[in-house]
Symmetry: C2
Subunit: 470 residues, 2 copies
Amino acid sequence: MPPDLLDVVIIGAGISGLYAARQLRPQHRIAVLEARDRVGGRLCNHRFANGETVDIGGQWVGPGQDRMYRLISELGFETWPLWDSGDNLLWDSNRGRRYKGTIPRIGPLALLDLGQAMARFERMARSIDTAAPWAHPNASKWDRQTLASWLQRNCRTRRARKLFAIGIGAVFAAEPEELSLLHALFYARSGNSLETLLSVTGGAQQDRVHGGTAGLCTRMARELGDDLHLNASVSSIEREAEGTLRVYFHGGVLRCRRLIMALPPNQALRIQFSPALSARRDQLWQRMPAGSCIKCVARYDRPFWRDEGLSGQVTSVQGPVRVVFDNSEAGSESGLLMGFLEGEAARHYGGVDAEVRRRDVLDCFARYFGDQARRPLEYVDRDWSSEPWTRGCYAALMPPGVWTQYGQVLRDADGPIHYAGTESATEWYGYMEGALQAAERAVGEVREALSQNAVELPSLSRQQWEAPRV
Amino acid sequence: MPPDLLDVVIIGAGISGLYAARQLRPQHRIAVLEARDRVGGRLCNHRFANGETVDIGGQWVGPGQDRMYRLISELGFETWPLWDSGDNLLWDSNRGRRYKGTIPRIGPLALLDLGQAMARFERMARSIDTAAPWAHPNASKWDRQTLASWLQRNCRTRRARKLFAIGIGAVFAAEPEELSLLHALFYARSGNSLETLLSVTGGAQQDRVHGGTAGLCTRMARELGDDLHLNASVSSIEREAEGTLRVYFHGGVLRCRRLIMALPPNQALRIQFSPALSARRDQLWQRMPAGSCIKCVARYDRPFWRDEGLSGQVTSVQGPVRVVFDNSEAGSESGLLMGFLEGEAARHYGGVDAEVRRRDVLDCFARYFGDQARRPLEYVDRDWSSEPWTRGCYAALMPPGVWTQYGQVLRDADGPIHYAGTESATEWYGYMEGALQAAERAVGEVREALSQNAVELPSLSRQQWEAPRV
């Protein structure tokens, strides 16, 4: 017997796919297919030996991310503000200088230079329509160059360029030369402004979720029951004569009227489609590589740096860890320092021994906060580029020429195939909020399509349900 | 029973994979797996109704491509020089101007500007070591910017920029903004110089192969007999405890000591590896998208344009067909005009109706050569971006930041997995000659590895030979 015909199959049980599922049930018969043995995608809890957990993937929410705060509350979770008291550190030339807020204390010339460049960037970003970056009057000019080229022309001091690049690394997990200027502007605008993306209080790093953001996914997954299939990587998708789809996955095959792809472009590219997807779609996905990020967390018995009036936040010109936060969970006694290896540093440390990585990261922590930081109770890191079902974080990026030449199909459905995932968001691209916004749009498309065509299906013989033709 | 252990499995029966097979046999037990029902990869013959054939994929050889000329001769094929007599046309502002050679006749200012920019580009290219572009003293500066940014600064006149970009389109099947400046320089240097790549007589477009370049592949395939498997797309590759490999393909499984991947990066990315490949390898492949090209050929009863002293070669500022050649085969009566839709034009025309594409291409031919060109006996085109087992031509390109941050692993073997294919060449990257040079290197690596370890294998139980775990 051919498998039952479902209304919707969703590929990917990250926060986008699960949110889509939550919105479609119970009116629609659905299934969610997840390649891993866990839900959450780029959200993941690490459990320390003492039972505490920490987000080893995406972790922050902030003002303007209304869907996220609503979901957190609906699922019975709570947020707390990231520790943001005390002085931040700017580390350069082997010493740390204290400062407050987003912009570090640097020489007046470099500060002016950085301020002017940021103001210019923000002005340009504000003019972008995030639903159609390609339609901007300057789109082709801005998409012809890298952000690095723009910085070269618009920051006169090397120090301002360096600091701008550190901010870019923290936001994109990529180097400025990997990004189209247009993409950087779009991305910043999609989260309001670059300053919002760089800020803690009042910005994208303001709040954390008790129990971890992955908890949201686990909770949503529980609602799904048997409609969620783990260890179910999809190998191919075939369109049937009736316009319906067969989805072949490890362990079986499903049939559906509509499909929602809720996974990163580099993963979508690895699925076989029959008939083949359009040239534009395939080549778009070829041109959306993921960023490079290793998230590193050290647990201490207490947040000792606070004793000296330090916030735990570092911006460092000397790598490899250039950005650090106090990641301690409110209500816990442990002190957590969290540092990112991003872009070039992530590529390098992705290829070295785990012990060397640990040592070099803790060396950085010790440089910033004293020798005590070298001896945590526990240390954990996660190289998202080495995860076979993710292959890079935080999100896919657009090199020059992609938005203007391929962007128009990014969010368009291909017949019964719809796209969710943060990479198809017009708000908060790259963030959890973007994952929800994209899911919401995809669900809207699917609902409308299902209400219009209630497909009548002829019966199919058993012969037609052979193993996947991979 | 587990399948026999082969010495080498080669994935991809393009000219690179077949050439590798030819060098390894008969000393070694090998198999070649090809996803398509034909060999040749990006080389392909189209057969016209009158029985004549034309290369609808890669077609040219030229001086400096010694391996290609040797192979052609060894296989008993012959070359002839592309028709290169008469005047070329530069089409602009609705009129054509005749010129001779590579550089079209344009106003003196633009000509000077173009000449200076090209000379500067060539000088930079000459300084590149194609085995290690990342090691150049200016590597990071040149890899931070797009070729478009460089043109913007180094061509003062819009017309010179435009003409330079047409040349780039013809060579790369991409727009200048898609290319890292460093990649453009590397690519030009790998084929001697940009002028070589742009030239017909004395350059990369000098000679054609009677019977088509795909004929070379068919001939090599015949030598392979049963060692060649068609319709055998590879889904996954697993490393066995003994260090040997299992290669799962549509139709079966093979075991081997060494593997040669002879397929484009965007295709390699779609194969599952267990254990997973390194982060650097996977992210490199994510960052090597294929160019965009539609090759269009019209057949007429005779090459009527020659009557007017025209060579059939066009460089056109007005698209969509910007580059045209007289593609008639020596000894045939038919006249063939061949035009490329490249980069942006290929993306656009990949998405329109075949009839519209045909009409617009023939409109261009008619604009250049008169109304007669609008009525060919036959017309054929091929959008390589829509081919599921290629997904873009001529070759993979490097956006900014890739060579310097990922280039060092491009040609390195991953344990028993070796890389061939033109994208791993140090000479003539993107050309057939590069495909051979890369195969030669991979074969050398494999031979050395095989001579060092004659793996002794324990017997394996039948249980271990289940269906692929996709």
